[in-house]
Subunit: 307 residues, 2 copies
């Protein structure tokens, strides 16, 4: 059936001639000669093995077949034009789906979204919050914000900012549960985060202490829940400085020691082959300034030092 389809480009001349009732006007519209239009339509008629126009003197008009075929041409070409236009719209107004943990979304990205939107009105951001590392091959996301060593095979990584950690608690908690020195936290509740259970192990190594055993454990299912628990005075948590700027400034939490830079960093991660790389990097650069603004505005020396 497909084999004897007339060359699709002939539809263009036919549509113009049919709509304008004139080969001459069609030729003008298409910037070719009337003769070329005549030949193209003759070709189409030969392919269909039927005539499409009644040739009158100095005028052509569609016959019944022509009228029916005009519907073919119009439908086909309008489909092409509409689909093409919406394709171009999609391309020039890309949707960036970016995955991150809820805390980063709520504390850093979302509060500044209106600024990004005003800088890049064409780019539509879709923030996807996820607890764990998403699989780029399965999830329909364009990029992710990840804490790690920057080594994810097949993905392109861009460093956003280093990560400083410090023990945090609410001021109220400190008052009611005095801390002698952070090397001796026995008797205190240590707030853990699910999936990062060895953080306290590492922390104790950093602090050159070994007092983290025999403490009460409180395990929360996310970083945001851990911070909220600390804010409520339920114990001591490990806070990441770039994320806690507003909490520390507002006095919802205080740091108990000089922040320590950990080996992991925050990275912006995207597919190596992403066609949206350009706009994604626009977002990355903007995001980096947001992270650094947060971190620099946090006076990392304003902690209650029990070291």
């Amino acid at each position: 059936m497909y084999k004897d389809l007339p060359p699709i480009q002939l539809l263009i001349a036919f549509e113009a001639a049919a709509q304008l009732h004139s080969f001459k006007l069609a030729a003008q519209a298409l910037c070719i000669t009337p003769s070329a239009v005549s030949q193209q339509i003759k070709q189409l008629e030969q392919h269909l093995n039927m005539s499409l126009f009644n040739r009158l003197t100095r005028r052509v008009e569609l016959n019944e077949y022509g009228k029916a075929y005009l519907r073919v041409a119009e439908q086909t070409l309008s489909t092409y034009r509409n689909c093409h236009d919406s394709f171009l719209y999609q391309v020039s107004n890309p949707i960036l789906r970016i995955s991150m943990i809820p805390f980063v979304a709520y504390e850093i990205v979302i509060p500044a979204l209106h600024e990004f939107k005003s800088l890049h009105p064409n780019i539509e951001l879709r923030i996807e919050t996820s607890m764990s590392l998403i699989d780029f091959d399965r999830e329909p996301v364009d990029a992710a914000i990840r804490l790690g060593d920057g080594n994810w095979p097949g993905l392109e990584t861009h460093s956003i900012s280093p990560c400083h950690c410090a023990l945090v608690a609410s001021p109220h908690y400190i008052t009611n549960n005095p801390i002698d020195t952070i090397r001796n936290l026995s008797g205190h509740t240590l707030i853990h985060m699910q999936g990062s259970m060895n953080d306290w192990q590492r922390t104790s190594e950093f602090l050159k202490g070994n007092t983290i055993e025999h403490n009460t454990k409180l395990v929360m299912d996310s970083y945001i829940a851990a911070m909220r628990a600390a804010e409520q005075g339920l114990g001591i948590a490990i806070g990441q400085l770039p994320l806690l700027a507003t909490w520390l400034k507002a006095g919802r939490l205080v740091t108990l020691n000089q922040p320590v830079m950990i080996p992991e960093q925050y990275y912006f991660v995207l597919r190596k082959t992403s066609v949206k790389k350009e706009v994604l990097l626009d977002f990355y650069h903007w995001l980096t300034t947001k992270f650094n603004a947060e971190f620099n505005s946090t006076d990392i020396n304003s902690h209650t030092n029990f070291a």
Copy 2:
């Protein structure tokens, strides 16, 4: 917006390559060389100013733009193929809309329709019954069966059969209302048909008589109603022989005189520019045999002659 539409024929190679994930296979499908496919797709990419495929080694895969553009190509081409197919279907299974008076439809055409359908299974007939001459420029009909002199400007006419007229009445009526001679019908009811009021005038001239005045008139609104009235014994009507074959054979009516050929004939009428001329003439030839079969099967000498 339309100006920078890529040449529509490029969609064909793109669709094939995208669906087959291979320029080589696409080339085979299109009966061209892989190089040609590669060049067409390169052209398309240059028009769109973006790449559509990730070129891997010995393999190509659509990137995100390519996936989006595949929808453009598929929609456009499937629209073309579907519309084209339904156009061809329409052409090869034409609908013939043919106008005629109800009597011709009911007595001649419709009883034989199943035969025509078996001879021409592709042709769909639409019988449109109409009391008066329809206007080909306004009504969506392809042809008409008309009684007349064959001279209708702008239309092509083909003679179907001459028309013989005779006075008819029911056998019962004749018994109850004896007729002396058809030159003297005084006292009889003459059944007229609306729109053909001068038929009796002409008939009297044919019969070389002048007795048609001072009779009771019965005016019916159609030929079929006039024949039914005669059948019911309501009076004498003017019957057209080609149409009354079954009625006469069944004894529903009898002729009262030797049928007389009138100047009008039955014609098959169509537009000079009709694109369905071929199938219409198929129908015309079939119709002619039907008319003649009817007429020849009527023994025009089997009348009750009062001349």
